[in-house]
Amino acid sequence: MTPTDPQPTTDRRAERTTKVVDLASSSVRELNQALHESSSTGGESSAVEWVITNPQGEHAIACGLTEPVHVRIEGHVGYYCAGMNQRAHVEVRGNAGVGLAENMMSGRVDVSGDASQSAGATGHGGLLVINGNAAARCGISMKGIDIVVGGNVGHMSAFMAQAGRLVICGDAGDALGDSLYEAHLYVRGTVKSLGADCVAKPMRAHHHTELADLLSRAAMAYSTAEFTRYGSARSLYNFHVDNAY
């Protein structure tokens, strides 16, 4: 594919080479192929910043990346942006659709606006920062990812979450942490209701440390003292008739 700016420019502040791809004239397939090929060459990939313009809500933008490239998307994206990310830093300057950074393995994804449902679903690692609100099922089945949401999350967030941390700086909707395993949930605001087997737990020193680190990395200026921790009561860990739902 041919980026719309065929002459790479140098960002003097970051000492990075910038490649611009305009999705008004290039397809997502062409973009992803170029990103994958760029990743496969390795070496200097981290020195390249990709700028994606006119994303127009397209799906699967910048998914399947494997190297520490920086991809900045100027506008709103559709489903599965940065899906299965590995090592890359994807920045969305806009809102994101369903399944943002789903199954992320490592790296970082930042969204300046809001995210639709299932953000960070089944993620194994890395950091997802949503500056706005996230819709339902944020962090569903998370398996090690860290998610920080500046605003509120919708119902059934962290459903069946197994590992990782979900930080909610606003309020949580219904059934937070339903069928939770070992993930840590931190909520600054109110929780409309807790899901099955999810309970409030005391904040110990290491939880304050863990939360402070996440807030710092996400550039969220809140005191850890404002948060309540939620976790699994572990009563559903082994099936028994007396605790069946």
Binding site: V28, R29, N32, Q33, H36, H59, A60, C63, G64, T66, G78, Y79, Y80, G83, M84, Q86, V98, G99, E102, N103, M105, Q117, S118, A121, T122, H124, R137, I140, S141, K143, G144, F159, M160, Q162, A163, S179, Y181, E182, L236, Y237, N238, F239, H240, V241
Partner: protein, 452 residues
């Protein structure tokens, strides 16, 4: 196990077993009253439902011209996933190994499946819990299941796979998730699934990041993007509303549709689910084929059928009804040595018998197949197991070739519904082939004269 009332010592003494409250039913009521928990087990449906044995093939005599057995060529290869993928699978035989998880099965069993399948040029499939080095290493063609739980889901494994199977349902439990009990969640299994050791592993019943066919279409596109449109994408459904599910799978962009009938196996789920949800495999195939034909996609989107397929006759009948290939699970495990009389005494010690053992969830399988116990699983020699599976696959293929030649076919895919009749009205109605000796397909007007 249901016993007839003619057993020695019962009928002869005038005792009559109730057809409603037979001994298996009485036992289950007693067990439920005692434990307060429904029965969880492995295997598939054990009840009798219309099955491939209710169909017969019409060999050639005068009106059809047969091919010479052992001499004239009857091909068996199949290409799967040539609709969109850069690299479709070209298999030598139309029998594949169905998805079975590491966790449900031992690493030795997974390796044996890979060895056996590769020896005869066909594929094996991962399962819930991710891809193991053993199966990737031994499988020439490996299909990677993309499941609701996403346990062990890793994009590197997607790229290492030869095809991707999005699992929406399983024949043994359409609409249900899994329940692998904690005793099988060893350190390795737990590590792959990001769960604490010994905790019951609940597999979700629905995918976490899409909710319907429109979403699935976008999900499929994402998977294609991540793998640069190289891998065929299968969509697997448990047989229920098969016509609609297949049509929507095609609409969503599937390269291959897998339909798993109610006789399909499982490692662990509720007995009530296994026996009472879904439709027989026989009934599902014509629905799937109808959907594909009406969309003009029959043979373009390939159809794999599974659920109780046991031998070459079942294979031939599935192909005649319009499938492109079949998958076997339970039959493959039996080939490896599951329920072998060799372990009769140990099965008895577990309260079962060779031929009846289905407590896969307990993880104490004497044959070393459905267990994570290192001592038990070491009993299965993957090389020998692989050879036994390859033998079964060869026999199934040769049997189907024999039947196809008798019907005058130079490729097993040339078998057609006209080569079939049914023994029972139920099977005739479900398979949509005539009752033997008549031209009557229940639900359709009889042909004039009724001369065939």
């Amino acid at each position: 196990m249901t016993s007839a009332n003619t057993d020695s010592g019962t009928a002869s003494s005038g005792l009559r077993e109730s057809a409603t409250f037979d001994r298996a039913t009485i036992h289950e009521i007693q067990r439920a009253a005692e434990t307060g928990v429904y029965d969880i087990r492995g295997w598939g449906a054990k009840r009798a439902v219309p099955h491939f044995d209710d169909l017969l093939l019409l060999g050639a005599s005068m009106s059809r011209y047969p091919l010479e057995g052992y001499r004239e060529r009857c091909d068996t290869d199949v290409v799967l996933g040539d609709r969109h993928a850069k690299f479709p699978l070209h298999l030598q035989i139309p029998v594949t190994i169905a998805g079975m998880s590491f966790g449900a099965l031992s690493a030795q069993a997974k390796e044996a499946l890979g060895r056996g399948a590769s020896e005869v040029g066909t594929s094996t499939t991962t399962g819930d819990g991710g891809m193991t080095a053993e199966e990737r290493g031994q499988s020439k063609h490996l299909v990677y299941q993309y499941l609701p739980s996403r346990y062990g889901m890793n994009p590197d494994d997607l790229r290492r796979a030869d095809a991707i199977e999005i699992v929406l349902g399983q024949g043994a439990k359409p609409g249900g998730g899994g329940m692998l009990l904690g005793q099988k969640i060893t350190e390795r299994v737990a590590g792959m699934r990001t769960l604490p050791v010994g905790v019951d592993q609940r597999s979700a019943c629905r995918h976490p990041d899409w909710t319907g066919p429109d979403d699935l279409e976008i999900k499929i596109r994402e998977l294609r993007e991540i793998t640069d449109w190289e891998k065929p994408i299968y969509v697997k459904v448990g047989a229920t509303r098969t016509y609609f599910d297949v049509a929507l799978a095609v609409k969503s962009g599937a390269d291959v549709v897998v339909v798993d009938g109610m006789q399909g196996g499982t490692a662990a789920t509720q007995e009530v689910f296994i026996e009472h949800v879904g439709i027989p495999t026989l009934a599902a195939i014509p629905q799937a084929v109808q959907a594909l034909q009406e969309l003009g996609m029959h043979r373009k989107v390939q159809l794999i059928v599974s659920g109780g397929v046991r031998n070459g006759a079942d294979l031939a009948k599935c192909l005649a009804l319009g499938a492109d290939a079949v998958s076997i699970g339970t039959a493959a495990l039996i080939a490896l040595g599951d329920n072998s009389p060799r372990f009769a005494e140990e099965y008895r010690a577990l309260g079962s018998e060779a031929g009846f053992y289905d407590d896969y969830q307990d993880g104490r399988d004497p044959a070393g197949i459905t267990t994570q116990d290192p001592e038990l699983s070491a009993r299965l020699d993957p090389v020998l197991g692989g050879r036994r599976l390859a033998n079964l696959l060869r026999v199934m293929t040769m049997e189907a070739q024999t039947l196809a030649r008798a019907c005058g076919k130079a490729h097993v895919h040339n078998l057609e519904p006209e080569d079939l009749v049914a023994l029972t009205i139920e099977a005739a109605a479900m398979a949509r082939v005539p009752l033997a000796g008549t031209s009557w397909i229940p639900g359709r007007p009889s042909r004039d004269g009724d001369r065939w």
